[in-house]
């Protein structure tokens, strides 16, 4: 399993990639693997507000329906519309083409609560025990 070093991770298995005030958000390799084949994602609307630690999207796989928890608070400025027709992209490339939304951050200090790749990997190993 792969946890790129340039991303920050939320304990509910989402990631952010920050560029200035903008943060691209998606679910982790661990999350896509645990969900299995993803068949649908209920994308947030552009202009919707996200709140850190609250649901901002919902994913359905062949075995489960799961909330996607926002890793940061902000305003959705872009969503990945390719996922509407091809949600399986999330399984194939969770950190790349499988990004979910771009959020404009309202509180960049929240990023300090997130984990780096190595810590997140340790966290999921602990959780699996």
């Amino acid at each position: 399993m792969n946890f790129p070093k340039d991303l920050k991770y939320h304990r509910e298995h989402t990631w952010v990639k920050v560029s200035g005030k903008k943060a691209t958000v998606g679910i982790t390799d661990y999350a896509q693997d645990a969900l299995g084949d993803i068949v649908y994602i209920d994308l947030p609307e552009v202009d919707a507000e996200t709140k850190k630690d609250a649901e901002f999207s919902e994913i359905e796989s062949t075995k489960a329906t799961s909330s996607v928890i926002a890793p940061v608070s902000g305003t959705v400025i872009e969503v990945n519309e390719d996922l509407e027709e091809s949600p399986e992209i999330i399984n194939e490339d969770p950190y790349g083409k499988g990004w979910i939304a771009v959020v404009e951050l309202t509180d960049p200090s929240e990023l300090d609560d997130l984990l780096d790749g190595a810590d997140y990997e340790r966290y999921i190993e602990e959780e699996a025990k």
């Binding site: 068949v39 649908y40 209920d42 919902e58 359905e60 796989s61 062949t62 075995k63 489960a64 329906t65």
Partner: protein, 462 residues
């Protein structure tokens, strides 16, 4: 005993047959066609259209089932309508032949009460006949509600009656009212290729159902790209050269080729002589009846939609049976404690018994169990994994209080729960009964097990 039944819908025709079986001399008066709204303008024709819509859906997704198709999948509306009409006419013939078989006389015309023992019939051929009778069942039903803001023309501004007879598939359709009828039509038209936008005053789709069910339905509508605008009021409707313009509160305007209005039903209580003989009506104009389905006038019964209760065909039928028994001198009372409801959206919805809010209102301490269809092998094999079963049980006695299902074949699955509730069974009775594998019915068993945290096919809670 002579019994006259006014209206041959699912209430009236069933009352007539039951009374005939009990030995009464029965006459039925019907001004359109036997079967009433249910058979001619409701349940049955819409389900024929649902079947065509499902066929289109399956055809478009044959690849998923390993079937290659060459050529395009094209809905042929005139053939779809022909099939629907054939389904209806077969059922109409069936009722007519049952009438013949049981010796029920059918007079085609409009009945009006003159006295508690005399009914005037304006026959279809223009003649008038006065029929004398000992007892009467009023079963005149209901029709789509019309309010002046919607200038119905049957072609661009449609009631549900009109929508069943459209001549071409509209490119775009606005549906006002996201209740049962609106949502069923939304799913049908979307499958035919129409762009559908629904407008609803309430906060959600089919708000009479369990909120979790409504939420999932809304997501399923979104998947189909059916737009749903909630908590919004229509202020203005106008036909222009480019389509029907619908002005919403707040200034937004929608435009579509056609508009379907499904905002409820009004009761057929006018022009049938209720006032002449002093039949008591309630505040909404509904005929008041007691638990024997008898009105304030002895020997005159009323059943079905016209009594303003639960506007469902199967409730009208049961009321018709109760009225027939009582008219024939056998004491029976109506029991509404177990009334299953089925909604033919995609996926289907069905429910029986209490919702959580109703259990709370009754001051009951309850627990719930859930089970997702996507955890069942059968659902995967069928390729229909969306939906869940929700069970509500009395916390102290473990008695089953309510079951709410959204998912494949929900309308068929609900009856196991209906029998269980009627029999006063416990959740454990369902959980402990072996259910055949692989079936969708395993969903109810696992949801029952989940009430006690004992479901097998769910991950360990964190």
């Amino acid at each position: 005993m002579r019994l006259l039944v006014i209206g041959a819908g699912p209430g009236g025709y069933v009352a007539a047959l039951k009374a005939a079986q009990l030995g009464a001399e029965v006459t039925v008066v019907e001004d359109t066609e036997v079967g009433g709204t249910c058979l001619n303008r409701g349940c049955i024709p819409t389900k024929a259209l649902v079947a065509s819509a499902e066929a289109i859906h399956k055809a478009r997704n044959l690849k998923d089932f390993g079937v290659d198709v060459s050529g395009e999948i094209v809905p042929n509306l005139s053939r779809i309508m022909e099939r629907k009409n054939k389904v209806v006419s077969t059922q109409v013939k069936g009722i007519r032949s049952l009438f013949k078989s049981w010796g029920v006389a059918l007079i085609e015309g409009k009945g009006m009460l003159l006295t508690p023992g005399k009914v005037e019939i304006q026959k279809k051929d223009g003649s008038v006949e006065i029929v004398e009778t000992d007892k009467i069942v009023i079963a005149t039903g209901s029709k789509p509600a019309r309010i002046p803001i919607f200038p119905f023309d049957g072609e661009h501004i449609l009631s549900s009656d009109d929508a069943l007879n459209i001549k071409s598939i509209p490119k775009s359709l606005i549906i006002v009212g996201a209740g049962v009828i609106g949502c069923e039509f939304a799913c049908i038209f979307r499958e035919l290729g129409t762009e559908v936008t629904m407008v609803e005053m309430m906060p959600g789709a089919i708000s009479t159902e369990d909120p979790e069910i409504s939420r999932l339905l809304e997501k399923e509508l979104k998947k189909k790209k059916i737009k749903l605008l909630t908590e919004v009021k229509v202020e203005r409707v106008e036909g222009q050269h480019d389509g029907i313009h619908v002005g919403l509160a707040g200034g937004r305007e929608l435009v579509a080729e056609k508009l379907l209005v499904s905002i409820g039903r009004s009761l057929n209580t006018e022009g049938i002589g209720l006032e002449a003989i002093g039949i008591k009506k309630g505040s909404r104009g509904e005929i008041e009846v007691n638990e024997h389905m008898e009105t304030n006038i002895e020997g005159i019964y009323a059943i079905g939609d016209v009594t303003g209760g639960i506007l469902l065909a199967h409730v009208a039928s049961k009321e018709g049976i109760i009225a027939a028994y009582n008219a024939c001198g056998i004491d029976k009372k109506i029991d509404y404690s177990v009334v299953p409801a089925a909604i033919f959206t995609s996926p289907e919805i069905a429910s029986v018994g209490l919702r959580e809010d109703q259990a709370s209102e009754k001051g009951m301490d309850y627990i719930t169990g859930h089970f997702q269809f996507r955890a069942l092998g059968k659902a995967h094999a069928m390729g229909e994994i969306s939906g869940f079963v929700k069970v509500i049980a009395d916390k102290d006695t473990d008695r089953l209080l309510g079951v709410h299902i959204i998912g494949p074949h929900a309308s068929d699955l609900i009856h196991e729960a209906a029998v269980a509730i009627k029999a006063g069974l416990k959740v454990r009775d369902i959980a402990d009964t072996i259910h055949a594998h692989p079936t969708l019915s395993e969903g109810l068993m696992e949801a029952a097990e989940d009430v006690h945290g004992e479901a097998i096919h769910v991950p360990k809670p964190k």
